[in-house]
Symmetry: C2
Subunit: 556 residues, 2 copies
């Protein structure tokens, strides 16, 4: 049997490298993002596709303690029939099974748990092509994006969380010696132990757009800090997390541990199992990604737990001036188009002074800028095949309904169009809509329009833009912000504004880095400092609330 | 002018030593606990006494923004007239002043803030004798204890919090370089900054028994992580925190900073200013020490803030067997007597098997043990002068009322007696009461009897004792636990029980270490894992929720 300690020994070097990278926050990646044969081997792509196809139309093979009956709730945004069914969870049985797994999981210790977690990741990576298809056909991400964001990048974020959790749980020594000098006598001497104890049962509530990327940090952070985890996928995106849970249980079982350390909670839409679980007295950690409405509800009601949420926000772009106008347009058009704006990081509010902006292509009024950005969008999305690869598919009817509402509003600068995908004729693919608004139209732009809807908003000046930026983000949250300016003073003011707003800032992106993308081990995702999220992925705060260190002491 | 950066430079070595000690958790102390002339100098004691005397009967010299009128609310448990008055706080004015101080305090940066905080501590230490009198005459601690717990140990805990806060806020680099290789092209290169931003206005709510020791960790952790702090003392123990705030403002002013980074919120009893401040939307951090009732209220109602509470609990002793019976009795008698059991760490519930315990002095039944412990108490407290030095004075009428209630209950094994202090004839001094109960009397012993009241509780067996221990502590909390056993199996079971209960454990204390004392830089105080406290003093979790790290990034 390969024990947890063996797995730690075999992954130790990788874990130490990951801890170093997470601390330095320079460039590092453990899992290659390229789906090329030279990286993953000749057979990896077809084998992954076969593995995915073999799952369709069948009950998914995963044990769920106390499950009764099955549910089948997914529908591919690409129009293919999925028909995968999952055991229907009984929330009380899941909590009981998780509780029963606590003592033995605690006894494994931080290093052993990190060993198990890293082995799980290694096996997830070995099934990356299968996972990419699963992510594509639940989230609607195009295949390459699903491979990257749902595969390699999610795995990197998971490893980052493991690294933070291992570092945090081993920073306090497991054993220390204490010797206090006494006047005219022998010193008082004691030995002290420090034992990491998880907070309790953890719950991870997944979302439909990034089922793995957004769930992995909480899942792996909770595991390594000593907590059993119940994984509750969104009914629209079960498969990627079912595969994940299957692998978790396989690794746990092979290491001689209780597989109920990780369980799957699949439900019918509307069963409300997330609320039931999140408010159960034994559930002490909740990780959630999704709507502000349910996130706020969890924060208010899951009082017995620490709650980590990532919700919606008003991602903002402040346009002041640029030395690379074409680069700005290309970069921004791609940011608006990638995965049809269905990223929690896609810019929604683009602020531009009424008097226009200075660029290396001359002065541009708001009207001209809107036309130029529309042209850039058309250029990027002109070829249907390439467009489909960038846009992916619309994940559900709610996004489509918002798009329709926006498309029918006045001030459309770039209309949304349908795109046909040769490979998947049933796919729902749309280009983004861009509307012009005035700073006074705050009723419209302070609402989050999740999906391919953005606003070009006219303000009185860059100073006014920064004020609107700070005020709206403080009040409604944001995960990303971008400023374009050639003026050091404006950039300095934008940085102060971002500190006041509590949001990370990107400056003058005109090349191959996009405001909606963050790199594991370097960029933090979310801050905790504005309403869009309660914590960053991934830092010490994200892991330190998941465990306690309990001491014992006795004389030598 | 001595800037924050200068202060960091001059205290850097001490700070680095403190960070090393906090990480190693071996023995270290920065502030000498002995009030001897050889340590603090010939004149320190009389000068401190004169300084204290000079404060009495006068308005205390501290500026409070927006204050109107004065309050004078303290009464010495030693019976002397204090008559110090303080500016009466206007909570809204305090929050406004604190908010206004945020941007400049943020700009000082972690190292500069740690420099300021350490300079504050150095000056508090220079006034340690004056502070000891202030603590004695508000809390009722005997002078030497006030000097140690209220002086040197509080200062060590403060430095520990500064060390954790500085380490946590500098772990993420302030600047990092990121360079991602690109196939067939130049790498994508960026520079990224990380800026520490405090969560917002912090509130520290002090208690009457340990006005400095329990307030300093939150105060200094919030300061170093970038937050202005409003210090709200208990109306019965204002002076120690007023001196502290005075020194904070003096150091801030001398460094050219806004003194409103630290303000004093004095009130009339019943003004309810703590509740007003704790629920103000701009107050984002609350540190509280005191009753479970108000602590629970804060956790439920101060929803806009992170809330760190230390409340009441059922500190428990499990007696199984001992190889040093006399040491056990001496040690336990002292733990029950020190500061008349008015420590949040004093044992309340002493569990003993009905069949008795084995000792090196032979078998002892519960009845015999009760008599032996009573004898040990009488021996320790037989000499009134020495007794007064151990017991200190009763802090207030509520403690006295509980003592009277217990003393009138059946099963008294050791009655409480009055003790007269020659130096302070008006002092209220009492020896502890010990009562015998059965495990079935849980209505009595699952209530916290803060003060000199303890119960010797008969159980069916040591196994039963451990079960009672785990169940009562899980439900009602505890800050300390102690087991006496010569059996490795019982000690191992006790450690597991303590992990399940979520409490730190001391084993076989028979010498000069007492269960109610914790050493800064080595012992954690509180765990967060049971209802008595939400966090430990001091670990990463205690500091990591007080700040965010915000990034900016741009291409090189």
């Amino acid at each position: 049997m390969t024990t947890a300690a063996d797995l730690y020994a075999s992954h130790r070097e990788l874990l130490e490298r990951a801890i170093t990278a997470a601390a330095a926050r320079d460039y590092w990646s453990a899992f290659p993002e390229s789906p090329s044969k030279s990286v993953y081997g000749e057979d990896a792509a077809p084998a992954g596709e076969r593995a995915f196809a073999a799952l369709l139309g069948k009950p998914f093979p995963v044990d769920v303690p106390g499950a009764a009956g099955t549910v089948s709730t997914e529908r591919s945004p690409y129009g293919i029939e999925l028909g995968v069914s999952y055991p229907k969870a009984d929330p009380l049985a899941l909590v009981a099974a998780a509780r029963a797994a606590i003592p033995s999981w605690r006894a494994v210790g931080p290093e052993g748990r990190a060993g198990i977690a890293t082995e799980i990741l290694r096996r997830i990576n070995a099934r990356i092509f299968e996972m990419a298809h699963a992510v594509q056909h639940t989230s609607g991400q195009a295949f390459v994006m699903a491979f990257q964001a749902g595969g390699a990048h999610a795995q990197d974020r998971a490893l980052e969380a493991i690294a933070y959790a291992l570092a945090a749980t081993t920073r306090m020594p497991a054993r220390s010696a204490w010797s206090k000098p006494q006047r005219g006598g022998d010193p008082l001497s004691m030995v002290k132990t420090g034992t990491v104890v998880g907070r309790g049962v953890a719950l991870v509530i997944g979302c439909t757009t990034f089922p793995t990327w957004n769930s992995y940090p909480g899942l792996f952070a909770s595991l390594v800090t000593g907590n059993p985890v119940i994984v509750k996928p969104h009914p629209g995106a079960v498969l990627p997390l079912a595969i994940t849970v299957q692998i978790c249980r396989e690794v746990l079982t092979e290491a001689g541990l209780n597989p109920d350390v990780v369980t799957l909670a699949a439900e019918e839409p509307g069963d409300g199992i997330a609320a039931t679980l999140a408010t159960h007295p034994d559930v002490r950690i909740v990780d959630f990604t999704g709507s502000s409405e349910f996130g706020d509800w969890l924060e208010a009601n899951a009082r017995q737990a620490v709650v980590y949420t990532e919700k919606a926000g008003l991602n903002t772009v402040v346009l002041d001036s640029t030395g690379d106008y074409r680069g700005l347009l290309r970069n921004l058009a791609f940011s608006l188009s990638l995965y049809s704006g269905q990223m929690c990081t896609t810019p929604q509010n683009i602020l531009i002074p009424r008097a226009g902006i200075e660029t290396d292509d001359g002065h541009r009024t708001p009207e001209q800028f809107g036309a130029d950005l529309a042209t850039a969008l058309d250029k990027l999305l002109g070829d249907p095949k390439r467009a489909a690869g960038t846009l992916g598919a619309i994940v559900n009817d709610a996004v489509l309904a918002r798009l329709t509402e926006a498309a029918g509003s006045p001030g459309v600068v770039h209309p949304s169009a349908e795109v046909t995908d040769d490979q998947f004729p049933g796919a729902t693919i749309r280009t983004p809509v861009l509307l012009r608004l005035d700073a006074a139209d705050e009723k419209t732009y302070t609402r989050e329009w999740f999906g391919p809807v953005s606003f070009l908003i006219t303000t009185d000046s860059t100073e006014h833009s920064l004020r609107v930026f700070t005020e709206t983000v403080r009040a409604h949250g944001a995960l990303t912000a971008l400023v374009h300016s050639t003026s050091p003073e404006v950039l300095a003011a934008a940085r102060e504004a971002a500190l006041d707003a509590g949001v990370h800032l990107s400056e003058n992106l005109t090349g191959g880095v996009f405001v909606n993308q963050t790199a594991a081990f370097s960029d933090l995702h979310g801050t905790g400092a504005n309403p869009a999220a309660t914590a960053s992925l991934t830092d010490d705060y994200f892991v330190s609330g998941r465990f306690f260190t309990l001491q014992s002491r006795h004389h030598v």
